[in-house]
């Protein structure tokens, strides 16, 4: 589904990603871990098409199409969803209005008829239970005055409604208490299917207790320096990132 080949990206002339290689197949969940400043969020933003980042080298294919050539909205319509680390507030625009517009834009792109209001509302209701989304949050302005937990839950809820092929979660666990974490993670787990895939960017192992990954990758200084199964996450948690840093000297030495 997703093939990242030798991806290099920089911001303001500073190189952040220095040759990422990653292949994600349908039905898989990949966790990207790494210390602060390793390039985890940059990777998520570059995949979503954030303009501030300049891709200097490499290629990204999404279902065989060149993702890097697409505008951000076309990437979304193709089925790439980014759950933001810091969800943005849009005053005066209700959550439900944004979702309906977004969903119908995506349907239009796929030559599908727009959903009528009744079908849309029924669908929304079924998805709301997935993340315990309170009713009043639907009518409120997008993320405005939401608590940190509500914002993150809203991201997962939006993902549930838009039903992307690839969900990228950018530190969705940061700033969540344990109950909220469980709700968010269980939501993602319920969305897993053989047709979709997830890339979960996280700093801590604890999210992976709830979203069990098929693969874990350690990102350091713009490169994936170690990949493994879920046990790698536990090892990291136990030994800390210093262990990885020792590992890197080994790696660079090679």
């Amino acid at each position: 589904m997703l093939e990242i080949k030798n991806l290099h990206a920089s911001i303001d002339g500073k190189d952040i990603l220095k040759g990422i290689n990653l292949t994600v197949k349908a039905g898989e969940v990949h966790a990207i871990m790494g210390p602060n400043g390793s390039g985890k969020s940059t990777l998520a933003q570059v995949l979503a098409g954030r303009e501030e980042y300049e891709v200097t080298e490499g290629e990204v294919l999404f279902n065989g199409k060149n993702l890097l050539e697409m505008a951000p909205e076309d990437r979304a319509r193709e089925g790439v969803f980014l759950a933001f680390q810091y969800p943005i507030e849009i005053p005066g625009v209700s959550n439900v209005n944004l979702l309906k517009t977004a969903l119908n834009e995506i349907r239009k792109y796929r030559n599908e008829e727009p959903l009528d209001s009744m079908d849309f509302l029924n669908m929304i209701k079924s998805k709301m239970s997935l993340v315990d989304m309170p009713n009043d949050l639907m009518q409120r302005s997008v993320n405005e005055g939401f608590s940190g937990g509500e914002k993150k839950r809203n991201e997962i809820f939006q993902m549930a409604v838009l039903n992307p092929a690839l969900g990228i979660l950018d530190e969705t666990d940061s700033g969540l208490d344990i109950d909220a974490l469980r709700i968010v993670a269980n939501g993602v787990t319920k969305l897993r299917s053989p047709e979709n895939a997830f890339v979960v960017v996280t700093h801590y192992q604890r999210l992976l207790n709830y979203i069990v990954p098929d693969y874990v990758h350690v990102l350091f200084n713009g490169r994936i320096i170690k990949s493994g199964d879920k046990s790698l996450a536990l090892e990291l948690e136990e030994k800390g990132y210093d262990w990885v840093k020792e590992h890197i000297t080994e790696f660079v030495g090679q």
């Binding site: 303009e51 501030e52 979304a76 933001f84 005066g92 625009v93 944004l98 517009t101 969903l103 838009l162």
Partner: protein
């Protein structure tokens, strides 16, 4: 039928054929320029009573002594008042025979706004079929209103049919001495709207110039007067979302509202006069004086405006809160793009006891435009326990436009409570990217953000108008974000 009669008829018929509609217009136009003779001609053509002419002449003589104001934050070449035709017959010949002849850009805009074909023709100045739906609709409405004692007609008709009412109220809120353009309007106005809602009557529908026959050509000096008697209620809609083109560059209207005891007037405007091309050439100058008098106790006047058109907009719909417990409201969205300039706001004059006013102004600037909010809150010495809440927000799109806020406060009573909030923000790249990531194009994203920003004002508009306003906003800001 005798031969002489037949001859007469033939003569008449031939005459019509020979001179036709076009010639009629030409003979019905006054020469360029302004003097007392021209004013007398206007008054005579309209078959006005003596007092009306007197009023016009007084206004004219006062205007001669006035200077064109220079305090607004706008720049333009001052009009040459001797180069304007002040009177031409109210019915204009259609400029085009079919929509095919009209600028395709204009048609595109109409389509985006969802304007029905027949109405597109009217706005673009295309000849319309003899039987036009809204005309018959208008007649039906008029009958219904008449049964309730509501008068809704053109100003010219009102001067003929209801001279007592006009004489009593015209100039009572905006005297001709008020300002330069109000004086000019008082001297030369040719038409406009008149609405009168009698005591205790709640007008059952939104009154709109749209439903008034022959309303499309009220001329450049429009005069509107709305009176709501005790406990009456009326909601009035002015303008429309279609871009209105006009040969006349200068528009100087006067609108007066009078609300008596317990009466309420809601006045909503969508202004989309031609703004000129991208360099600002050929746009309309819209210099308007709008004022409402809350004359009676517990009366209420609300202004809601969505201003997107004109190359220069200069207007301050105001409320004079004379009656005790009266309420004044002003909700405004003013959009400027390209070379447009707007200096708009309101005045809330608190005179009675326990008077309250609310101001919500949303300015949006894009391109290289300039958008100014200018507002006065004045609390008189005897106006005890007056309250005002003002909120003035500016939104900038791009980095070449300007937003300015000039709030004036004059508080002469210590019991007053005045609150003022002001914010200036830019549409964030973050916001646009977030919406892009949800599948919206940048243009749709901007439109969604801007509509959200204006929500507090849009919800004051009647439902249908609000939907139109949202579409209009999107069209007005098209291409403003790279």
């Amino acid at each position: 039928m005798s031969t002489t009669e037949t001859n007469e008829i033939e003569k008449l018929a031939n005459q019509e054929y020979k001179y036709g509609f076009v010639t009629d217009i030409e003979t019905e136009s006054a020469p360029k320029g302004l003097n007392e003779d021209i004013i007398a001609l206007i008054s005579k053509k309209k078959n006005e009573p003596e007092w009306m002419l007197e009023y016009r002449l007084k206004a004219y003589r006062h205007w001669l002594k006035m200077e064109e104001p220079e305090w607004p934050n706008v720049s333009y070449t001052k009009p040459d008042f001797q180069d304007i035709i002040y009177y031409s017959a109210p019915k204009n010949r259609p400029k085009y025979n079919s929509l095919d002849e009209v600028d395709p850009e204009l048609i595109k805009t109409f389509e985006k706004l969802g304007i029905p074909l027949e109405e597109q023709k009217i706005f673009a100045g295309v000849a319309v079929d003899a039987v036009f739906d809204s005309v018959s609709v208008a007649t039906t409405y008029k009958e219904k209103l008449k049964e309730m004692g509501i008068i809704f007609c053109s100003m010219s008709e009102a001067i003929q049919e209801h001279p007592g009412l006009v004489k009593k109220y015209i100039g009572s809120v905006v005297p001709y001495t008020d300002n330069f353009y109000a004086a000019l309007n008082s001297a030369v106005f040719t038409d406009g709207s008149f609405a009168f809602i009698p005591k205790g009557v709640r007008c059952p529908m939104e009154l709109s110039t749209y439903f008034r026959i022959n309303a499309s050509n009220t001329g450049q000096f429009e005069r509107t007067l709305i009176v709501a008697e005790d406990s009456a209620y009326v909601s009035y809609l002015e303008g429309c979302t279609a871009p209105m083109r006009d040969e006349n560059q200068l528009h100087a209207a006067v609108v007066e509202l009078v609300a008596l005891d317990n009466a309420e007037i809601k006045y909503s405007t969508i202004q989309n006069w031609y703004a000129g091309d991208k360099e600002g050439r050929g746009g309309i100058y819209n210099f308007v004086t709008k004022r409402g008098l809350c004359k009676g106790v517990n009366s209420k006047i609300s202004w809601t405006q969505v201003e997107t058109g004109s190359s220069i907009t200069w207007k301050y719909p105001s409320c004079v809160l004379q009656g005790d417990n009266s309420i004044g409201e002003f909700y405004s969205v003013a959009v400027t793009n390209n070379m447009q300039q707007a200096d708009t706001g309101t005045k809330m004059i608190h005179i009675g006891h326990n008077t309250r006013s609310t101001i919500v102004s949303k300015g949006i600037s894009a391109g290289v435009s300039n958008n100014t909010y200018r507002g006065l809150v004045k609390v008189g010495k005897k106006a005890s326990h007056a309250r005002n809440y003002s909120q003035c927000d500016s939104l900038l799109i791009g980095d070449k436009c300007g937003a300015h806020t000039f709030p004036y406060l004059e508080v002469n009573n210590p019991t007053a409570i005045i609150e003022h909030e002001a914010t200036t923000s830019k549409i964030g790249e973050d916001q646009i990217f977030y919406l892009n990531q949800r599948g919206l194009s940048t243009e749709d994203a901007v439109s969604m953000i801007v509509n959200g920003y204006c929500k507090e004002v849009f919800r004051e508009l009647p439902m249908e108008f609000a939907v139109e306003a949202q579409k209009l906003l999107s069209v007005s800001l098209e291409g403003s974000v790279g």
